[in-house]
Symmetry: C2
Subunit: 718 residues, 2 copies
């Protein structure tokens, strides 16, 4: 049986609960995530729960069922403040029955005959005075247990419960951009979790706790390594290490994937080429992949970044993405492995709008990829900005499996210092209507396969997890890991619901806490847009590390690496003309989306400068000039952070003192940096507009030269 740090912490909590004393202390480090089960504070609800769960009948006979049973005990002991009784039969009333469906008593099976439990899903309901958690597979039982505990954690009634739920997307994956040297590209939460040198013998307790946390939100796959890949990872010694991780994650239903460096046949295989049409190369990959499966029978597959930002790929040999992806797919297919092939490409040899390039390159290949190839597409056409329109590829490749790639780590959104609730951003993308098959062709329907009847569906989130005590650096960044998992399970979930569930599970069920904090989380995303890139501005972060503003950066080798490329500020105005008169990027969207973006009067103002270059005196819907509106948006972002600070100050009764102080310090920095963004950008734009700063905008504290002089050569994440 696996032993669990959190479980031991829970045992302490049980003691505490019995004493009614210092019940939040254990969660202060943040290590416990949203799984820090606390005793139900509402006495009548507690009584109700206790009556309904007088004992548990849970026959467990597999690794996965064992961890589910352990989790249930851990949770119930803490939540109910009792020692859970496990009974050998389900005879008496008030029993919680947890079992795979086919192991249920025949009478109960008959009773539930009308219920069709979805694959990997579960059913929670009542039969003859007992509560039942059941599923077709072991993993469904584990998911059911976690969901049942979440109901209790968030103090939902379980009186007349009938809950049938299952994942809408098959592969719900985290992408770790972790390097073999322990650094994490765009990581702001410490080192990589993977201690390669000590693997395979040493299994860090964190690996188990990581798998458990992922299972609790339905994540079922993890790409261990950076998309900027290292061939060394595919040598036998490392495969042994990966296998040890796979063994550790297996009971929790989390499969392991790796990033494959396209030139590996040369670098570790001593071949002279990595040409995907070369039979020797094909054989090398087959042999390699067979050897991986010999160690890891349920290996998930490869994630590949090819011919992108200097990574090798099939184009190095005059071949196409199809050639490259299909070669790997063929070698993986016999083992049911997949290739996640990234569409994040833009070429230094292509002078056209970078926003157009992935679409231009990939859409013509629709239908050419093998069935186990999934094209992984970032949420927007540029690169994980605070706001982008949805990526035009979504809906435009109906014959190809498309995975969404979200970025959970906040590369462009304030690192692990800024409180930004990303599910709000994710929701906006998933709910966007592509109109590719008429109204209602939501991005979510592309991703879950329902729009185009795809056989495999997938979603990836670039991890924000590291070795920091609290996993994610900012305690509230845990909500982004959590929210990503919840949306990967069900891309139609509401961001507010997610926020509320996370807040209740992590901190408190007090309404005086939950309500204002839900509002704060929801508003936090618009705040970062306002103080960084309002009105459709994008990619004006300082170069390379992307820390702070750098709208003046203009001298990098590739034009599309420069912020000036994106905002195109001049004496006349600001913005990137992507209309038909401009780069024509709007044409990559289906009508009426293309029309909406094209037409100034229809274009959403929050994407205005993404699609249009407009004069400073252009008048917005509220009557403000563009210049004034930009300034007032920056100001609003700053004010929103001030409001967040005020709200947080009032939350001290509901949060332990240490955690409260920690978040306050982080919000202090967020405010400083929001002001920095406002002042630096407005000073910069001011040199072109020559207009006075709008009334209501606080004047910049320093000169433009001052902001340009700030250098951060050791900003984290690079």
């Amino acid at each position: 049986m696996k032993i669990n740090v959190l479980l031991h912490y829970k045992r302490i909590l049980v003691c505490l609960v019995l004493l009614g004393y210092c019940t939040t202390a254990v969660s202060q480090s943040g290590y416990g995530l949203w799984l820090d089960y606390k005793k139900i504070s509402d006495a009548s609800l507690l009584n109700d729960y206790q009556n309904q769960i007088q004992s548990v009948y849970f026959p467990a006979k597999s690794e996965t069922l064992d961890v589910a049973r352990e989790e249930l005990k851990l949770g119930l002991d803490a939540l109910l403040g009792t020692t859970t009784e496990f009974s050998a039969t389900a005879s008496s009333k008030g029993t919680l029955i947890v079992s795979k469906f086919d192991a249920l008593d025949q009478k109960i099976q008959k009773n539930l005959r009308k219920i069709t439990i979805p694959e990997d899903g579960f059913y929670i309901g009542h039969v003859s005075g007992n509560t039942i958690i059941t599923a077709k597979e072991d993993i469904g039982v584990l998911y059911g247990v976690f969901n049942f505990l979440r109901l209790l954690q968030t103090q939902q009634s379980i009186d007349k419960l009938t809950l049938l739920d299952g994942p809408k997307i098959d592969l719900r994956i985290l992408n770790h951009w972790d390097n073999l040297d322990g650094t994490v590209e765009r990581g702001y939460a410490g080192k990589s979790l993977w201690k390669w040198q000590k693997l395979p013998t040493y299994i860090d307790q964190r690996y188990i706790d990581y798998a458990r946390a992922n299972a609790s939100i339905g994540i079922n796959g993890t790409v261990l390594t950076n998309v900027n890949a290292n061939a060394w990872l595919l040598t036998p010694g490392y495969i042994d290490k990966v296998a040890a991780l796979a063994d550790t994650f297996r009971p929790y239903g989390v499969k392991v994937y790796l990033t494959a460096r396209f030139s590996a046949p040369i670098e570790i295989g001593q071949l002279s080429t990595a040409d995907p049409l070369d039979p020797e190369v094909q054989q090398w990959w087959k042999t390699k992949i067979d050897s991986v499966y010999a160690k890891i029978p349920d290996f998930g597959g490869f994630l590949v970044k090819a011919n992108s930002e200097g990574q090798p790929g099939p184009q190095n040999y005059g071949r196409t993405h199809v050639d490259g992806a299909n070669m790997m797919a063929e070698a993986l297919a016999p083992h049911n492995g997949v290739v996640l092939w990234r569409a994040f490409v833009y070429s230094e040899h292509d002078a056209s709008d970078r926003a157009k390039q992935a679409y231009s390159e990939f859409v013509p290949m629709d239908g050419d990829f093998k069935e186990n190839v999934i094209i992984q597409v970032k949420n927007g056409p540029i690169d994980f900005q605070p706001r982008e329109p949805f990526h035009p590829i979504f809906g435009a490749m109906p014959k190809t499996a498309l995975a969404m790639e979200f970025q959970i780590t906040q590369e462009y959104l304030g690192f692990s210092t800024h409180l930004v609730f990303l599910p709000k951003l994710f929701e906006e993308v998933l709910q966007a209507d592509t109109y590719q098959q008429g109204k209602g062709s939501l991005v979510a329907k592309v991703i879950d396969g329902s729009l185009d009847n795809h056989k495999i569906t997938a979603i990836s989130g670039v991890s924000n997890i590291g070795s920091d005590l609290n996993w994610t650096g900012h305690p509230f960044a845990q909500a982004n890991w959590y929210g990503y998992g919840r949306l990967a399970w069900n891309p139609y979930l509401n961001a507010e619901v997610i926020a509320e569930q996370w807040l209740r599970s992590t901190y408190s069920n007090e309404e005086a806490f939950v309500e204002p904090m839900t509002d704060l989380l929801i508003e936090s995303r618009e705040a970062v847009v306002n103080y960084m890139t309002p009105l459709g501005l994008h990619h004006i972060m300082d170069t390379n590390h992307h820390y702070g503003p750098g709208p003046w950066v203009s001298e990098l080798a590739r034009p599309e690496w420069n912020p000036t490329y994106y905002h195109k500020t001049d004496a006349n105005g600001i913005g990137f003309d992507r209309t038909q008169k401009g780069s024509g990027a709007v044409l990559q969207y289906a009508d009426p989306v293309a029309q909406r973006f094209e037409q100034l009067d229809q274009c959403p103002e929050n994407l205005l400068l993404w699609f249009h270059h407009l004069p400073w005196d252009y008048t917005l819907s509220d009557g403000q000039t563009l210049w004034n509106s930009i300034g007032l948006h920056y100001q609003k972002g700053v004010d929103q952070v001030r409001d967040m600070l005020k709200v947080w100050e009032q939350m001290s009764p509901y949060v332990d003192a240490l955690s409260h102080k920690e978040v306050r310090m982080l919000l202090d920095i967020q405010l400083q940096e929001a002001i920095w963004w406002k002042d630096a950008c407005m000073q910069y734009f001011h040199q072109y507009s020559k207009l006075p700063f709008p009334e209501g905008m606080e004047k910049p504290e320093h000169s433009l030269d001052y902001y340009k002089s700030l250098k951060h050569p050791y900003a984290p994440g690079i």
Copy 2:
């Protein structure tokens, strides 16, 4: 008042103690270090303690006294299982009185008039039925409190206690080799603790817990950054960040030091030279140092690695170490700052034995350094090997303040995977007799200043601390941080006493645990010598990362970077001839030490091949040939690790299950790697000796080619 994570954990423990339940659970992550106060298990002793500490009188009126008072409450609450009563007076018997001496009641002062409390030290004793902890300074009170709690933790009687103690070395410093990008050179425990990007606003709770842990063992200084220094650290933005750390550490008596890059005047000062005799350069350093003190009034000073392994220094301008160190010292002197100037130099232009070079370069400068310059000397003449003779500089520069530099991080001793108790190594060095002023001229007496009446004394330990949950990677590596601190306080302490105190404080006071585990810790150092570098072998680790064996490495650019330089194996034999007929390094030692190392029949066998090149059939004192003895030493090292595993298996009743499993996995790796060392080295030496492996030595598992083929490009710490 500072809030403390550990304090909160303690509050939980109190609850647990009241329940008599799961008392070790909190300490399982290892975050609590040796300060995880547990309730006294011996009932009669507990009763005794409770009687003697019925209440506490502790008037606290400074930041340092506040943390001392908080610590005392934390400790007593947990250890005694009660809520400590603080009284407003010291009237009744059974009161613990904690106070600065001059604030004590006049009667008590009179009673203690014969006691002379050492500077920064404390007195613990009894007056009229009360226990007293007193000191001249606030920091002495804090040290007294920690020492008193240690007495209780280790279950010592406090009945007739009279304890007068003070530090024997002034500056007791940790050296962090932490880079500004968060990596740690030779770090095996995660990332740097210092989150530069979030400083100065965000004060990680770990900074406070770090300072507290250091104060508990008497460490009073910390060099935050790598000796391979970065000039950027001295820019104003970073000084603000450093000041925030200094403010955080100040209540705990821990001063901040920085590493100064010698070329900083060029790199960040826009000067054209860093010549220490250039008035502009001198002025630049004065201005820079004044600006540091404006922010950090108690700044400790600089640690400098100059003209060593590519670092810039005064020799770049035809100047000497004296010129360089004195220039900085002059600028620091008005602020009472010091320069720690490292003697770790060896030149690519000097073909002589590397072991001789630091002595050759520095000893002639004895007497030329300013009073606030301290020359920091590694414990041995090469580089932190499992065993070296003491450095010949010790005792040879009587007119110069000399600091010891120990390495706590296990660069050459198995990283954070091998259990090696380093205080045993430190003790061996400190107890070595230099004979520089006749018998009894111990290295410890050089370091504590008693041999040469030095005004400033200092000791440095290269930190093994990182962001890992348990601080040091291996849970037992905490003992090396602890033991370094204890020896820095008192370099005459016995390693066994330290081992026992640490074991009792960290794990258990059960004799069945303490006795075998003390033996295990003490033996662990000889084990690593045996399976890595027996009989005086040294520096045969694989290159660069120093992970595993690499005796065959011979093609690095500088001869003294190659293991072959150090073992000089050939058909005739093995070892480095440093006698008068060889490199003459023995002559750097005073007689009779030089004679002892020179004479084969007197040379300690554990340093034999350090000083002598000997034929394979040379006969050792036990009648074995050299060849056989080498093999049997390697085997003994392996067997010792097997024994450690066996002992550890028996310790499961005294250690929580998670921690027990963790250490067992690490010992498993240690055994694998010990065998790897034996097999690889013996296969390599075998090609020269051509002799059969000795009886009793397990045959190598693989060929030499196999061991040579192993590559570890991503080994940690580089």
